[in-house]
Symmetry: C2
Subunit: 306 residues, 2 copies
């Protein structure tokens, strides 16, 4: 992303803050209370080894965009704990998804996946500890009003549990090698990737205290962004190289995964994406956010090619 | 446990409430939002398939004991969400500990362990979802004052993460086949089992709003109870049968685990336990809890033989 526009400068600034906060909230190997240095190393490896920081940026972009003075907004600092929590949650889910018993993937962010680098037991535990850390960071964010903090914790809990991310991953495992309908595939992805991306938009809204009406619109926009993200991901798995992706290209087809290109063909998938992009633009316009960091990030999600 | 004494009647009543609350807070296969029925079945199997409910009983017994009118106390209902959260956390940790990449145990509570019954992928995910559910139940407990609820969430997060339970399990894996000193073994168990048992006592204290001084005494008592529990567990692994334990007897020695009997011998371990029991009695007396549900539960922890 070029940094010439204020929206893009904002996103770059948010990204720097996010990187600093992730580092600050991770344990270091010399921290008091460290029982097993390998566990800490594996947690740091999984979080600090790259990644687009899309979920935390989405939290920050949503919060700031809802503030009319977003270029000078203090909203960013208020949502950084929630942003970190989502990234820790995302990092844990990638560790567990890559395990031999799950997608069995050796490559992540262009490097050996966590269990290849640290062994399976340490990888399972690093994922477990990152999930706990996600909740802990948010519960520790004592600068927030307690009611806002609890609402954020509830959103996080719902998004990453049996109704959300973990439920979607379980459905994905169960459906491998079977052919799903488009509605079933949409439900799978609404859980597996949509829940955290939707939670990102909601957490951003909670951080600036939006009312129930706008929250409903935000939740709906978040769901569309989640689906658009997944469709692009599916397309890239077919069209991009392993080198560009930083993870194994073509892994979906090799694992018999249900994807949009497998269901709709590449052209049909691209048409679905264009339709979704149009809906997202309309939602943003209705929220009076057509020119905002959130709109810039939405455009990136849809137009990215890594 | 006989039910003739008021303390024991209280513990039996708490146990009933806990069972009801666990069932009420678990998803059912027909709940709205269920994506993968197998995931839900595995979560229910792991939680509802037995277990002593020691951690949630410890939360309830601590809270009630600190209330002079404990036989008619409302404190019990206030700490039930925290009690459930700890049991979900404990259940998830057992699922992950039993995995092939970890302790590789086929038996738990006298039945096939979760991955033997549901497969490895579903077991990993059921553990992940139970951890999320633990935080969610506590974040959803809206009858509590927000500050108390957040303090409980912080205690839970700290106890089950890299400093606590997961850190201890990682150290246990790393130390298998090596000989630890008694101090190292104490640190391992302070994390692996002590953190949740200690958190149980703290959560009970938080639920009745004890002051900082009493909380320090409670935390110290919780640590001793955790160590006593582990020493008894180690002794039972050597002296009891698989049938009695409901898990594989002798598994510690077979896995090259560091245990108190391996380090101190059986007689030395029993002597250490007696010393600890004396310390726990003194702590309880100083807290004016010598005759309380907490004292009854402490006695059970030390004298239990399943």
């Amino acid at each position: 992303m070029a940094n010439s526009h204020p929206e893009q400068r904002f996103l770059a600034q948010a990204r720097d803050l996010i990187e600093q906060a992730l580092e600050a909230n991770l344990p270091g190997e010399s921290d008091a209370g460290v029982l097993a240095p390998d566990l800490i190393a594996a947690m740091r490896y999984a979080v600090l080894g790259g990644g687009k920081r899309l979920r935390p940026q989405l939290v920050c972009a949503t919060a700031a965009s809802l503030d009319p003075d977003w270029q000078y907004s203090g909203a960013l600092h208020r949502v950084i704990p929630a942003a970190c929590a989502l990234e820790f949650m995302h990092a844990y889910s990638l560790i567990h998804d890559d395990l031999p018993a799950m997608d069995n993937d050796d490559l992540r962010h262009g490097r050996p996946s966590c269990h290849k680098a640290y062994g399976e037991a340490t990888a399972i535990l690093a994922g477990d500890a990152l999930q706990a850390l996600a909740f802990e960071v948010l519960a520790d964010a004592q600068a927030l009003p307690p009611d806002m903090q609890l609402a954020m914790l509830r959103t996080l809990g719902r998004a990453c549990g049996w109704r959300g991310m973990v439920g979607g991953q379980a459905l994905d495992m169960a459906a491998s090698g079977k052919v799903l309908t488009q509605a079933q595939l949409a439900r799978l992805h609404a859980g597996k990737t949509g829940a955290l991306l939707g939670a990102a938009v909601e957490l951003g809204g909670l951080g600036v205290g939006v009312g129930a009406d706008r929250m409903t619109s935000l939740t709906s926009l978040g769901a569309k962004l989640g689906m658009a993200f997944q469709i692009v991901d599916d397309l890239l798995d077919v069209t991009a190289t392993t080198d560009k992706l930083g993870k194994t290209a073509g892994a979906d087809a090799a694992n018999g995964k249900n994807t949009y290109p497998a269901l709709l063909g590449i052209d049909g998938t691209r048409a679905r994406l264009q339709e979704l992009q149009q809906n997202i633009r309309e939602d943003l316009a209705q929220l009076a956010l057509a020119e905002s960091p959130l709109a810039a990030l939405a455009a990136y999600i849809i137009e990215r090619d890594y």
